[in-house]
């Protein structure tokens, strides 16, 4: 069989969701595709590069179309929830994204969109980027914790639904703290708009 990058990423996402990040090895991906491990190196220079492509695809699948005419803070909230939902949609999704981030790889789409939302409130580019990174660090960290603790509790017979609701509440609370901090610095001229 002959594959393209997209086919390999697709299969990797399947392994991730069904068996988790520890089982997402080059050899496992190759075997499931009926390939020799070395064949993957025709498509990706390294495992890190492959994982970055998988993480980007995972995040892309959670991204909705641009909705303009929104308040900047509504945009930030929406984008943050899209990121959270995208990572929660796949087993170990947050850990994968964190790993790719630690490599210094991964697409810049999330930070770009968050930065644009903050800039639309009238902030300069440097502040907007720092504020966007603060939101992003919170989102990645919170969702990572959520998935870690959900995995720990999935052994028992605990109903997951109340946990998800509690996680969502603390997610919204943490996010609102950062948003309020940003609002406090908003230039007066922009508040009128």
């Amino acid at each position: 069989m002959r594959y393209r990058r997209g086919d390999i990423v697709e299969r990797a996402l399947g392994i991730l969701d069904q068996h988790g990040l520890p089982d997402l090895s080059m050899r496992r991906i190759a075997t499931e595709l009926g390939l020799q491990p070395s064949a993957l190196y025709h498509h990706f220079a390294s495992k890190q590069e492959l994982l970055a492509a998988v993480a980007d695809e995972l995040l892309d699948r959670g991204a909705r179309a641009e909705r303009d005419q929104e308040e900047w803070d509504t945009s930030v909230i929406t984008l943050s929830h899209e990121l959270r939902d995208a990572m929660l949609a796949y087993r170990d999704g947050a850990e994968l994204v964190a790993t790719v981030q630690a490599f210094g790889l991964g697409g810049r789409t999330p930070v770009t969109r968050l930065t644009a939302a903050v800039e639309s409130a009238g902030f300069d580019a440097a502040f907007a980027r720092a504020a966007a990174m603060t939101v992003l660090h919170f989102v990645f960290g919170h969702v990572s914790d959520e998935q870690t603790h959900r995995q720990a509790n999935s052994a028992g017979a605990i109903d997951a639904d109340p946990l998800v609701r509690a996680d969502t509440a603390s997610f919204d609370l943490g996010l609102s703290l950062i948003l309020e901090g940003i609002r406090q610095r908003q230039p007066d001229s922009a508040k009128i708009d």
Copy 2:
């Protein structure tokens, strides 16, 4: 030779700092101590447990003594900088702490101390914990980014000092956003104290 847990953690910290997290293998630790790899399993049930002990030791070394009689926000700022400095003091320190966190392991000392600081401002325990986690996620994420980009730039002949200063400024900015968000929710009764 006969070793105790502390000796093994000590040697692991040395390998981490000199060779980085990817080289921190059970076999490498054992070899450097003149042991068989299997000997380590007398002291630690798994590599994850060993890494958790290493991360806790790393964070402990950056912790100063309790200083009472401080404003709550000064305490949060000081604790955050101590955590940052502790992770920056060792190569791949932030990535190690993040890995241990993703296992659901690692000591609760940082979150406990941050929560106590926020509670001292008059907040209830649930809010204080959520606020402390928001700070913690920001600190871990920011320092992780710092170390990732510093490693990327250390190949070139760039002077690191201006970068460190810029990182510190954006760290302080992000932290101040969260603190301002917390202040906005402060109960009126507590503001007088």
